[in-house]
Symmetry: C2
Subunit: 329 residues, 2 copies
DNA sequence: TCAAAAGTGTTATCCTTACACCCATGT
DNA sequence: ACATGGGTGTAAGGATAACACTTTTGA
């Protein structure tokens, strides 16, 4: 390494970044009685975050420290989302100081899953519903009316704006894929693509900041500072994808739960309703849970059996999915 | 952001990292006539890498610049792998300068896929076979004998070393899962877990560097500097997983190819043999390819139809996998 | 004629999907 | 009795896996 760096930096020695600062940003997810939620600071306008410091033993421990310091929450399951050096960030502050002292910000984002049981009282205001930020992502009550009423017409106008040609058709195609227009199916995993499309079309507040061209277009969903809403979109997309092939939902469940509670959690995350009988069979057939022997003292309806997650599955099928037609197994 | 950072750094102002340096590291994969290969520098002992500089417009463009500068190769498909701040790296150099000037290195790794057609001549020495670094990962000719002959006995010894208790059983269990021992199935995706296990057991050269305890244990596979081999393992694991649900193999294929060539490429990456008739049906049924109308002027056997990748699939099924039993679709 | 590779047919099995229906409890 | 949620049966359709077999070329 040292050899390489030395050899190659002869070319651009003075431009090597020695003074980058590193930001850690967390998308902390829980399902509260309010529905799928994310842990925020600053009245819901930002995700918990802070600089990586020398006192931190690792990136993850730094993230844990910041989240705990800013929100009081201890994190369990954590996975890395994405790292970026957004040019946006160089803007105002550091850029104009002069050639020598330019500063770059590297942002490393994480997805964390937690049980938000202590989410009552004043701390509960830190939890904000996903779908306040992304109202078009909740299909649980059918297609959100705003898609046809607000998004579709403005996306069409945005496409037309490109001047009739390949670019217009390209925009139409992207919008149709992302939002399930023209009879296409809705794909709940395309959270990031949808946000980026609305950003390009200047239909989210964040996009109008640099352009100043606000006003007449509808501003959709609660905005956040900097690119935090984009990071949140990335986290939701990752989670919607991951629940399908890894048993991560259980990180969000209490130790003991009914199958309907589990189903409601999956529905909250995916933003879609699932078929109850088949869902139960899917879970049982995969041997993800075991009965506790207890039942709920529920208020209404027949008492439900209580289940707990079978931690053993994490050992057994580390990953099932084959999908390759292997020979002579 | 600014507000948050200011408020929180009162606590540890002097420790904030303003002088982190950021390294970009590339796992560049191609399938050459030598088999699945990775682009290296320094006689195969390192991956192409270099510091992120102010001249770079983005992380990706910085990576492209370094790879092109060090190897002459232009990259196509790129995706981010993982970002880490390894404590190992603080070692020798920067740590001993003094309290104030501590320096941290952030490494951002990427996976790149390319067609290595220009991989002849002197440049070809930059391409090294995967399985020189990971000889236990190639199952194409059946179970590699070294697993039973070398790895299994030493892993057993390493487990016993823990002193008979839960820790010993835990080590045995991990080894069995990772290497498919005790009648378990081989899971080709566990590349990283296997490398980490061998590292813990001090059976790779990299592990003996810090300990100095080398010598009597067998050193398996070609080592690399720093943690480059671990990064390579991460890249291989990601690719082995991804070919199963996203049509990325085609990034490694020439514009026109036969189904057997495609199959051989998949086999090279996964390290496993696939069933030819079923593989063909899988590909055709997914409508991933279309016939060109041409056939090969092959040297031996019946001429094969030539195919090309149907780029349209990238639009059509952005991602198929449902796996959730949706209701009233 | 034979080796080597291309390619087709067919079946058993499993998983997914959809529909229909019964069960247990509180009001 | 009926509303609400819990829970089971089953059959059609599709995908996968395993087996056997035919076709087309060059040496």
């Amino acid at each position: 390494m040292q050899g390489l760096a030395a050899a190659s930096s002869t070319q651009a020695q003075s431009e090597k970044i020695r003074d980058a600062s590193v930001d850690l940003i967390a998308v902390v997810v829980a399902v509260t009685n309010q529905g799928p939620s994310v842990l925020t600071v600053e009245q819901g306008s930002a995700l918990p975050s802070g600089p990586f410091e020398l006192g931190h033993r690792s990136l993850q421990s730094g993230l844990r420290a910041w989240v705990e310091h800013q929100t009081g929450h201890q994190l369990g399951y954590i996975e890395q989302l994405y790292t970026f050096a957004d040019s946006d960030r160089i803007g105002a502050d550091s850029d104009r100081i002069g050639g020598q002292r330019q500063q770059r910000v590297i942002s490393i984002s994480y997805l964390a899953l937690t049980r938000a049981e202590h989410a009552a009282g004043e701390a509960s205001r830190a939890w904000r519903r996903w779908y306040d930020y992304f109202p078009w992502e909740d299909y649980r009550s059918g297609i959100p009316p705003m898609i046809a009423e607000v998004l579709q017409p403005h996306l069409a106008a945005w496409a037309a704006e490109a001047g009739l040609g390949t670019e217009e058709r390209e925009r139409q195609r992207r919008a149709a894929i992302a939002f399930g227009l023209d009879g296409r199916d809705w794909n709940e995993e395309l959270v990031l693509q949808r946000y980026e499309l609305l950003y390009e079309a200047a239909m989210v507040e964040e996009a109008t900041r640099r352009l100043g061209q606000s006003a007449f277009l509808p501003i959709t969903g609660t905005p956040m500072i900097a690119d935090h809403r984009r990071i949140l979109a990335t986290g939701i997309a990752r989670l919607r994808s991951k629940i399908k092939y890894r048993p991560v939902v259980f990180e969000l469940m209490p130790p003991v739960f009914t199958l309907l509670q589990l189903q409601r959690t999956v529905e909250a995350l995916s933003g879609r309703l699932v078929h109850k009988p088949n869902f139960r069979r899917l879970i049982e057939q995969q041997e993800l849970v075991e009965e506790t022997g207890e039942t709920t003292a529920d208020t209404v309806g027949r008492p439900a059996k209580l289940f707990r997650f079978r931690h053993a599955v994490l050992d057994e099928r580390v990953a099932a999915g084959t999908k390759l037609p292997l020979s002579r197994a």
